[in-house]
């Protein structure tokens, strides 16, 4: 490895980063708005990310999640509002002064530098002495399992290897926070599963506050402590993945996180508690304490099962079936309303045929009412 010797001068370098563990910092986003010309891309975002947390921005493309991430890193137009990293407002600060680590979707490895020089870049900029740079580059490459590729050029690496180098390049400078912009989207499915576990391990090891931007709920659910679901420049819901899944705040969150039957109707008090009455007149069980009035009921496909008593049972016709591996997902027509129903697939059992008459049972308490 051949690294230029940098004189240690009074250059206004970013943080004078010391080797060793990083003290995790909190990220506090306060009322952040941002426009591209006339288009409002972020509309008053408020978010607090705890120190050391592995946090995800989850949303479809165009939801503003990448824009928000880039705003934290200092790219794009300057937003309104405040972004506090460990209590320091970084809005308006140059990207190179923030000491925020970002891994780009495209990895953005410089094709004219070897792997080692790519990784050493940030340390050069920080005027880290040569010997230490060498040691830290080595350590970072080891951490991502890329030591043997140090002298290669990016074009000679596979996508997964490039990803690891990009990660090493970012963590070697020990940034205050780690931002990952769809880091797995360019990898194939198997590698993705492996890589996300590696990411999680690495994050836990470094204890660094991390934000992970993705449109893939599975990725977010599997590795993140908490997620923020975003759409149309607004944070729709924040919480632990399972909480958000189980109690979605609105129809968007419900359908974006997994599959959901979102049914319109109204809550009616009855003797046995509350029921949710669809427009078609069919009544479904819902939470006891639900207040009466028009609303939406979210029912996961796995909350409905086949067979059931005549009492609260629903009669329907099978329209189609999708084989999902562990499950078969049926679309059932119930008095003009299509319901998705999952049934566990077991070996040897055939599928229900289209046109077959079935009766369905909704498990009590599993429907979630959301605002109308």
């Amino acid at each position: 490895m051949n690294m230029p010797v940098k004189s240690v001068t009074t250059h206004e370098s970013p943080q004078d980063v010391k080797p060793g563990a990083v003290e995790p910092v909190e990220i506090d986003i306060r009322n952040v708005s941002l426009s591209f010309g006339a288009t409002e891309v972020l509309k008053g975002i408020d978010l607090k990310i705890e120190p050391g947390e592995f946090f995800a921005f989850l949303g479809p493309s165009g939801s503003g999640k990448s824009t928000l991430l880039r705003a934290i890193a200092g790219f794009g137009p300057t937003p309104k509002g405040q972004i506090l990293l460990g209590g320091q407002d970084v809005v308006g600060m140059a990207p190179w002064k923030r000491n925020v680590g970002m891994v780009f979707q495209s990895y953005a490895l410089w094709p004219h530098m070897s792997v080692a020089r790519n990784v050493a870049f940030g340390l050069d900029e920080r005027r880290v002495p040569k010997a230490e740079t060498e040691r830290r580059v080595k350590a970072a490459l080891e951490m991502v399992g890329m030591s043997q590729y140090a002298e290669r050029y990016p074009s000679q690496l596979s996508g997964g290897q490039q990803q690891r180098v990009a990660l090493a390049r970012t963590i070697v400078v020990e940034p205050r926070v780690l931002l990952l912009d769809e880091p797995l989207s360019n990898l194939d499915a198997n590698l993705r599963v492996q890589m996300r576990q590696d990411l999680l391990k690495l994050q836990r090891r470094l204890g660094i506050t991390t934000i992970f931007v993705t449109h893939d709920q599975e990725e977010a659910n599997t590795i993140c402590d908490r997620i923020a679901v975003m759409a149309d420049g607004v944070v729709q819901q924040v919480g632990r993945p399972d909480d958000v899944y189980d109690t979605p705040a609105n129809a968007f969150v419900a359908s974006f996180l997994g599959t959901a039957n979102v049914l319109e109707g109204s809550v009616r008090k009855e003797a046995g508690g509350s029921v949710f009455v669809l427009h078609s007149g069919i009544a479904l069980p819902c939470a006891e304490n639900a207040s009466p009035g028009a609303g939406k009921l979210v029912l996961r496909p796995q909350s409905i099962s086949f067979g059931g008593s005549s009492e609260n049972g629903l009669k329907g016709t099978v329209m189609s079936a999708e084989f999902l591996g562990g499950m078969i997902r049926y679309a059932i027509d119930v008095a003009g309303q299509t319901l998705l129903v999952d049934e566990v697939h077991t070996r040897g059992h055939g599928r229900r045929k289209a046109g077959e008459q079935v009766s369905l049972k909704v498990r009590h308490q599993e429907g979630v009412l959301i605002g109308g």
Binding site: M1, N2, M3, H112, M113, S114, R117
Partner: protein
């Protein structure tokens, strides 16, 4: 190996730095310097520069070569902070322009063997601002191979070139581009009179293959065989022949010997060396250098002719007929009008003029061939000729200072009235000649169809 991408740029930088070092090599050790602005080719200037610096090792001569017109322009543009010492060029008109701008200093010198005038034309500026150093006559040169291939006779007089056989074989420059061509044009105008002169010029130009942009374009075209005959200053012919080209030169009887000149620039930073250079140029030794085969000019110093190479005529023994006594006052007075007029009615409309001329030639040939003759056709041809020859400006107008002032921004004096703008006047001329050439072509074709 980690830095490969940056290397090419670094190499480029190094290369340039290296070149810079080489150029910064030590300069001449001379105490004095002399800056000569000239239109002469290095073939001429190098000979004098070398010889002069041999006699005056302390003076470093720097030659700045510009065409006559850009040389004059250069001196005018740089007058506010002049760095040039000598202006050295053929055309007396250019010196007259500089004199008019007050850009020439006074320096005159009497040298034995150099007469005050040649056939009445003063060799030195009577006001003592510039001096003649060599004589130039005007005539034509032709390419012998070309003439043979196309079966053309060698021309003897200007009128010969009006002949139909020369159609498309003649080359000439424009007086506005070439000081020497201006002198040629003036010589013809003064020798034959304004109207007849223009008739000759148009008839010759009607046979032209091209109007070249530089004076040297003409000998160059003859040398390479682009066209057969060129109207040139004598030394172009002599030096081309001396360089081995299959060309000949001939003086017609209507010609003038006009001095090529040298003068000290006003406020010259190195006046002393400048005067020394002129002294050297006019000395017998300097004058003999003009016989160099690459130069071949006629010295103004009579005594120099003792060593003249064979084939170079001696103007002082009458071997060149000069019917014209060149009137440089008149030339200077109508300088701009002649240039503008030539360009508008000949240079820029050469195709039209050529077509009209060709049509008239064709009609005349047909008329001659018809034997019996045809009065109507002859009349039409005559009309066509008259149309081609019609001039938008007459002799008096051309000399009118008010009219000339249209062509200059700086008026000679406050009383001069300027009416109209050059572009406006030229558009009128243009409209007239284009229409005339068109009509002449038509009439000539009509005449031919009658035969």
């Amino acid at each position: 190996m980690s830095d490969i991408k940056r290397k090419p740029l670094r190499m480029l930088g190094l290369g340039v730095a290296f070149a810079a070092l080489m150029t910064a090599s030590p300069l001449h050790a001379a105490d004095d310097k002399l800056v000569v602005v000239t239109s002469f080719p290095s073939d001429l200037t190098d000979v004098f520069k070398t010889a002069f610096m041999k006699e005056n090792p302390s003076i470093a001569v720097e030659v700045v070569n510009k065409s006559t017109s850009s040389g004059v322009k250069y001196l005018i543009e740089t007058a506010q902070n002049n760095q040039s010492d000598i202006f050295w060029a053929s055309a007396p008109d250019a010196f007259e322009v500089l004199k008019g701008e007050g850009l020439l200093g006074s320096y005159s010198k009497e040298v034995e063997g150099i007469p005050a005038d040649l056939n009445g034309y003063p060799i030195n500026d009577p006001d003592g601002q510039y001096l003649g150093f060599a004589l130039s006559g005007y005539g034509f040169m032709w390419n012998t191979r070309y003439m043979e291939a196309y079966n053309l006779p060698a021309p003897k007089e200007w009128d010969d070139l009006e002949d139909a056989v020369y159609h498309g074989h003649v080359g000439i420059s424009s007086p506005s581009r070439s000081g020497t061509t201006h002198l040629t044009v003036e010589t013809i105008l003064q020798g034959e009179g304004w109207d007849e002169g223009w008739e000759t010029l148009k008839a010759i130009s009607g046979n032209a293959k091209t109007i070249t942009e530089r004076s040297f374009g003409v000998p160059d075209g003859v040398n390479s065989g682009s066209f057969g005959v060129g109207i040139v200053i004598d030394f172009f012919g002599f030096s081309s022949k001396a360089s081995g080209f299959p060309v000949e030169f001939h003086y017609p009887s209507v010609t003038a010997l006009v001095p090529a000149n040298i003068g000290v620039v006003a406020n010259a930073p190195n006046e002393g060396p400048a005067q020394k250079f002129i002294d050297f140029l006019l000395s017998e030794k300097g004058q003999a250098l003009l016989f160099d085969p690459k130069i071949m000019r006629l010295p103004v110093n009579k005594s120099a002719y003792a060593d003249a190479p064979e084939g170079l005529p001696n103007p002082f023994d009458g071997s060149i007929q000069t019917k014209v006594q060149f009137d440089s006052d008149m030339s200077e007075q109508r300088y701009n009008v002649v240039n503008a007029l030539f360009d508008v009615i000949i240079t820029y409309r050469l195709d039209d003029l050529r077509n009209a001329t060709a049509a008239v030639h064709a009609a005349e040939t047909a008329l001659a061939g018809s034997g019996s003759g045809n009065a109507e056709a002859a009349k039409l041809i005559e009309e066509a000729r008259a149309l081609i020859n019609a001039l938008p400006v007459n002799a008096e107008e051309a000399l009118d200072p008010d009219f000339n002032a249209i062509f200059t921004v700086r008026r000679k004096d406050a009383d001069t009235k300027v009416e109209g703008r050059q572009a406006e006047v030229e558009q009128q001329w243009d409209a007239m000649v284009v229409e005339n050439y068109r009509k002449a072509t038509e009439l000539a074709e009509q005449a031919k169809s009658l035969l």
